[in-house]
């Protein structure tokens, strides 16, 4: 069944979009991430123009994360104070990111920039995740229990503008969370992702937040930054396709429920190792696309 996407100005198979939504939703439910990092490359792969894929991907992330946020909020797992600080950085970052995106679009380098960002970020994150999870699996095999990470004091704790985050049981400077939020905001605007897969490790390892509030607080940041990106992309670039978004969400919310119920049966380290390998393989696929000789050396497009 073909459906015409009014902003992308092309028709696509609706069942294909529902299927992609379901698959990505299933994986995101399984691993507890938004899945934007899989969605945007898949959309580009089926021929959706990169600007539309990125903007609609950000739009879809809102829908994919909002129910998780509500659930976490009810359980009291959201550190609203930390979330707000992250969000301030996130808003500035996503604003700058959308400007950068518009600039790249005029220069005709959007596709390249999106691909490079994906390869570098996903490659790094994937590698770190696999390494970390393999280590902890090995450690558990050796000692029988997963070792808890001791609370370490680093140079980060010497920075000024300290603030007390009660839910996270932290008393740290606002500069690191602001910078983390800023960085994720930029990536969110250029890659069309919520950034949960980068935010979660950053919160645990850089900020030292307890894992109980990490998921909820990252969802808080993801939902609002994705909303900001959607809004700015709609106003400045005009590439948010709501028909595309809703079709992806329709498949995604169903898939996420299936994935989540399966995810509870998996162990934390194994899940992280699998997710890390998935992230790595997406990065390798995109890298291959960048280095292989293209079928046609030329491409045409509308003048920006």
């Amino acid at each position: 069944m073909q459906v015409y996407l009014p902003i992308a100005e092309m028709s696509v198979d609706a069942l294909l979009l529902l299927g992609i939504g379901f698959g990505v939703g299933w994986l995101s439910g399984l691993f507890g991430v938004g899945g934007g990092f899989l969605l945007t490359p898949l959309l580009i792969l089926i021929g959706i123009p990169a600007p539309v894929a990125v903007a609609s991907g950000a739009n879809q992330t809102i829908g994919a994360s909002v129910s998780g946020l509500i659930a976490q909020w009810r359980r009291g797992n959201v550190d609203a104070r930390m979330g707000t600080v992250l969000l301030v950085g996130g808003f500035i970052g996503s604003g700058a990111g959308v400007q950068l995106f518009a600039l790249l679009r005029r220069a005709g380098q959007v596709d390249l920039a999106v691909a490079i960002f994906y390869v570098v970020i996903l490659g790094t994150v994937g590698m770190l995740m696999v390494r970390e999870s393999v280590r902890s699996i090995l450690r558990r095999r050796r000692t029988g229990v997963a070792a808890a990470k001791a609370h370490e004091h680093t140079w980060l704790h010497g920075l000024p503008f300290k603030m007390r985050f009660r839910k996270s049981r932290l008393y740290i400077s606002v500069i690191p969370p602001l910078l983390v939020g800023f960085g994720i905001g930029i990536l969110s605007a250029i890659m069309g992702v919520g950034g949960g897969f980068m935010l979660v490790p950053a919160m645990i390892y850089l900020l030292g937040m307890p894992t109980s509030v990490v998921i909820g607080t990252s969802l808080f940041q993801v939902v609002f930054v994705a909303a900001n990106v959607t809004f700015l992309q709609a106003v400045q670039v005009g590439t948010v396709d709501i028909v595309l978004t809703l079709l992806l969400l329709a498949g995604g919310v169903v898939g996420a429920q299936f994935g989540a119920s399966m995810g509870t049966k998996l162990r934390g380290e194994e899940t992280r190792a699998l997710l890390g390998m998935l992230v790595l393989s997406v990065a390798l696929g995109l890298l291959y696309d960048l280095v292989r000789t293209p079928d046609s050396l030329f491409s045409i497009g509308a003048t920006p």
């Binding site: 028709s11 129910s67 005009g238 028909v243 329709a250 169903v254 050396l297 045409i300």
Partner: protein, 254 residues
């Protein structure tokens, strides 16, 4: 349906004309043509569309009669940028580019015989018949490879067509040709010209007009997104949030 009805009607008219024992030649048009619809509507289920151009000529069409029919369809101009990929440190990225300002977004030509067989080059060039007669002026790099790439890629995605569909002739005087639009067709005003060619000259021409428009939901979404981007952005956020929240309630599996 429309095509069959139109053909029957034309045939009747033609027979009536013949039966009236040859009226004065000056009053008979040499060419009469029309299109099956003057409006192509892009709906939510749009996958491309085609219109039928049909008509009748006074004299016989075909190689023996010496007359030929050419049908040309034009879309609104669409400035197009052609980019060449270059290899930098093993990575392929967009390198030099050139912009073609005055090229039609859509162009299709159909004829009883290829135009280069029936018209001299000068006529083809002034009437812009055939893809090789389009004035593809580039701003930027003038390398011929860019022009070649533009021609090739535009034909690949179906927005420029050369003899993609035949002009079929019935009864020696009735002709019809199909002009098909891909799903990526631009909205706007299209012009279809029907030309009658005899002895290497264009002896009659008729212009027909066609509008391609978005209608229904697709139209409202696109127009709101363009005219009210602030509202559109806010609605997109709300709809996505509601869809996600609603979906998780309906499909909860506990």
């Amino acid at each position: 349906m429309i095509r069959a009805a139109a053909r029957a009607l034309l045939l009747l008219l033609l027979l009536a004309g013949v039966a009236r024992a040859q009226p004065a030649p000056a009053s008979t048009p040499q060419l009469a043509a029309d299109i099956s619809t003057d409006r192509v509507e892009i709906t939510t289920g749009f996958t491309g569309s085609s219109v039928m151009v049909f008509g009748a000529t006074e004299r016989l069409i075909g190689a023996e009669g010496g007359e030929d029919v050419v049908v040309v369809a034009w879309g609104p101009p669409q400035p197009t940028v052609v980019r060449r990929k270059v290899n930098v440190l093993g990575f392929w990225l967009n390198g030099p580019s050139t912009v073609f300002r005055q090229v039609p977004g859509f162009y299709a030509i159909a004829a009883t015989r290829p135009v280069w067989q029936i018209l001299p080059e000068e006529t083809r060039r002034t009437a812009r018949l055939g893809l090789d007669s389009l004035p593809l002026t580039a701003s930027g790099s003038q390398a011929p490879a860019f022009r070649a790439a533009l021609l090739e890629l535009k034909q690949q995605d179906g927005r420029w067509q050369e003899y993609a569909h035949p002009v079929t002739i019935a009864g020696g005087r009735l002709f019809s040709a199909r002009v098909s639009f891909p799903d990526t067709v631009q909205t706007g005003d299209y012009r279809i010209e029907v030309l009658l060619v005899r002895d290497e000259r264009i002896v009659a021409r008729q212009a027909l007009f066609l509008r391609v428009d978005r209608v229904g939901t697709a139209a409202s979404i696109a127009s709101v997104a363009r005219t009210e981007p602030l509202v559109y952005g806010a609605v997109c956020i709300l709809l996505a949030a509601i869809a996600g929240w609603f979906g998780s309630i309906v499909f909860r599996r506990n």
